[in-house]
């Protein structure tokens, strides 16, 4: 069936199988390989993207469910050559090692900060608790998100 999805502000119309997962639509059909796939069971969170501003695990969302809606991925975080504060935080605080969980972690962090610009450490840990990282032991991810909260420059809108 035909779907039209806006991804990072750009509209795409594609013919897809009804069973196609959003993560495969993004990766295989649109070539946006920044969103990763890791577990099938929505436990690991490396596939997190925003669907109409809300973080979702794209391995358990069908592409057809995104029809007519807006998807944001890691590729859209950088604006006009300026890294998002979350991206800056992960770089500055060594919030990544292998980098595989990083896009999903950053998208969740972005959604958290959009909703709660000054999260406490427990709030940050809870926000990323549906996501796994095997490299960092999480501490520097928490610091990265704290860094981002402290360095937000643009006014952010609370998602509808």
């Amino acid at each position: 069936m035909q779907i039209t999805v806006t991804v990072n502000g750009q509209e795409y119309t594609r013919e897809v199988e009804p069973r196609l997962l959003l993560v495969h639509f993004l990766r295989d059909h649109l070539g946006l390989t920044g969103t990763h796939w890791g577990c099938d069971t929505s436990n690991c969170g490396v596939c997190v993207v925003h669907l109409d501003g809300v973080p979702v695990k794209s391995c358990t969302v069908l592409a057809v469910m995104a029809d007519g809606r807006a998807v944001a991925t890691v590729e859209g975080l950088e604006k006009d050559g300026e890294l998002d504060p979350v991206q800056q935080g992960f770089t500055e605080c060594h919030g990544l090692q292998c980098g595989f969980c990083t896009p999903g972690m950053m998208m969740t962090a972005r959604a958290l900060l959009d909703a709660n610009p000054s999260p406490t450490e427990p709030e940050i840990r809870e926000a990323i608790s549906g996501q796994l990282c095997r490299c960092t032991g999480y501490q520097n991810i928490v610091r990265a998100i704290q860094y981002a909260a402290e360095h937000e420059t643009t006014s952010t809108e609370v998602p509808a």
Binding site: D28, G34, G38, H94, C98, G99, G130
Partner: protein
Amino acid sequence: MTQMAAKETPMGYGSMKRKEDARFVRGRGNYIDDVQLPGMLHGAVLRSPHAHARILSIDTSAAEAHPKVRAVITGQTLAGLNLAWMPTLSMDTQAVLATDKVRFQGQEVAFVVAEDRYAARDALELIEVDYEPLPAVIDARRALDPDAPVIRDDKEGLTSNHIFDWESGDRAKTDEVFANAEVVVSQDMLYPRVHPAPLETCGAVADVDKVTGKVTIWCNTQAPHAHRTLYALVAGLPEHKIRIMAPDIGGGFGNKVGIYPGYVCAVVGSILTGKPVKWVEDRSENLMSTSFARDYHMRGEIAATRDGKILGLRVKVLADHGAFNSTAQPTKFPAGFFHIFTGSYDLSAAHCEVSGVYTNKAPGGVAYACSFRVTEAVYLVERMVDVLAYELNADPAELRMKNLLRPEQFPYTCPTGWEYDSGDYPRALQLALDMVGYGELRAEQAAKRERGELMGLGVSFFTEAVGAGPRRTMDILGLGMADGAELRVHPTGKAVLRLSCMSQGQGHQTTFAQIVAEELGISPDDIEVVQGDTDQTPFGLGTYGSRSTPVSGGATAVVARKVRERARIVAGAMLEVAPEDLEWEKGRFYVKGDPDQGKTIAEIALAAHGPLELPEGVEGHLDATCVYNPPNLTYPFGAYICVVDVDPGTGQVKVRRFVAVDDCGPRINPMIVEGQVHGGLADGVGMALMELMAFDEEGNHLGASFMDYLLPTAMECPNWELGETVTPSPHHPIGAKGVGESATVGSPAAVVNAVLDALRPYGVRHADMPLTPAAVWRAIQGRPLRTDLAIT
């Protein structure tokens, strides 16, 4: 918070930000599933639902008729190519696709190549396999029973599930020590089967060019060069026509060392279809079939005096190797480096016996940041010391301090023959005790016990053995474990360093550039690090066992020094002085006694490529190669203390604090070292409290997804408190020892010791990992849970 307790001998450039991150934070990494080649097809593996069954027939006709299917490969197809079986890294054989029997649940039975990944999966459903189920061997302790079914009846003459017996140490001397000891305590313990579970699963893209004969294999392998040679040996392909390309790797932890059947099938699929074939496993496939870790059933005995001087250790191990013996370790070491189980203590004698057996479980065993089973060794000795402390009613920290090796004993040869290069153990333990506030915590614990609250302190001291290794004793299938390195300084003073090792997130692009930068005075930003492509890099055995810094790091320092000596000659010619009349300061040679007369490395590089007349016998350009054969392993060490609170009503364990003092010698990039320690500590919390691959009686895998195989999240992990001491390795060119696995090796015992310390009021001396709420509850009830089998 990170507490840097003792900053010593920092190297230049220190905690610079990682060069890798620019692409990763933009989603522009290039992982195996991101590799797209024109005309690429997709492979999928049909796996066995049974742990042990005879294959009566396989009907692939319906799958072959699927409009999008290009090829279906079975064991029979491979047998025609003499590829149905492949050699393992432990001199055994492993089925690529099963021909006679399946021997574990999840074993590879058939391979479909189709136009897209969904069609390949659809076609798997169309393959009909007729199985005759056989009784399975699931409990390793029953594997050698006379009536146990023989799993490897493919091996001629094999009449049992026995693989090997191996021993180390002096049996007679150890028996004598035990016979005369005032105190002997024994304890059975299991280091359960766990899995490295990198978030990126294993995969490959094979592209066989029929015209040129070139076989290009993109693969997220930790050991690209070893893979190339093995493909040449296995498939008879000419080695110069094989190119392994490791892209960015989403975590390895030992899971990505070996060659898996899916890789071989992708190559065969490409040969059959003439197109590139991608195979990437899913999470269940990763957990069920690729290299697991541990599965050591251990009986430890410790001998001591009544006042707590430890005299000897005796250990018997039953090692569950699964259906094929494919452990990835130096070939002469069937139990890896387990025989470093005397740990950090000054013992008179020690002896261990290890017996390996086949079971109907997945092959593997050496993985998950284990330093070739130093993990099991450290867990054994650190539990035994706590068991002894329990029996002697001694404080576990004091007991350790009393028995630790003293600084003046180094270099120290332990009772099983390892020569520890350097260490100051009491200093590291004292620092950890001071950081955690040990005395205050013991007082708090005493007060809480009076109120019926459970709090525990767990101490662990580890000695690692990493950087395999000296080629005289250490090889993998005959390939010596020395590493090459090549360094070329371009005419403008920028450089390229080519390495044989392969990062899976360790940050090689940054740290190896820093090593060269330190040696040559070129900015790390001006040094490109190339790794992973066997056509572009020198031979070496890859990244695992914390060997990158000890081996390839040594190679990098040596090759940079060779370049520097060439630069000295060129500078001498430029300045018209003898090379020995030049002094080096970082980035520049100058004339002794006349510092203004000098040439920078960039000026020298340009001159080396120019018309300058060089001394007789000196070639132009500024480059060098080297092969670094480490003279010994390096021995990082550390002291870890974990503080837990246990809910007596639910058995829930909360890790409140974790102090980790690591000594890995000088730190090239402290930020990266600390990050690696953080990750390893989380591994330890996971293994101690959550992670488990259990099986039921039929051999069904009960941890085959992340819903059942539980990994720690941000909620289970505390803020790690790190400290450091610095004891350089005397034999490594920059004194560095390696750190990648230290925390994974050292931390599980600290967590388990803490939980058991908390349970002391209940008289619980030992309980096996993982200490889930159910396991803790059962231990409190005096009915310990056998964690590895769903059989009660």
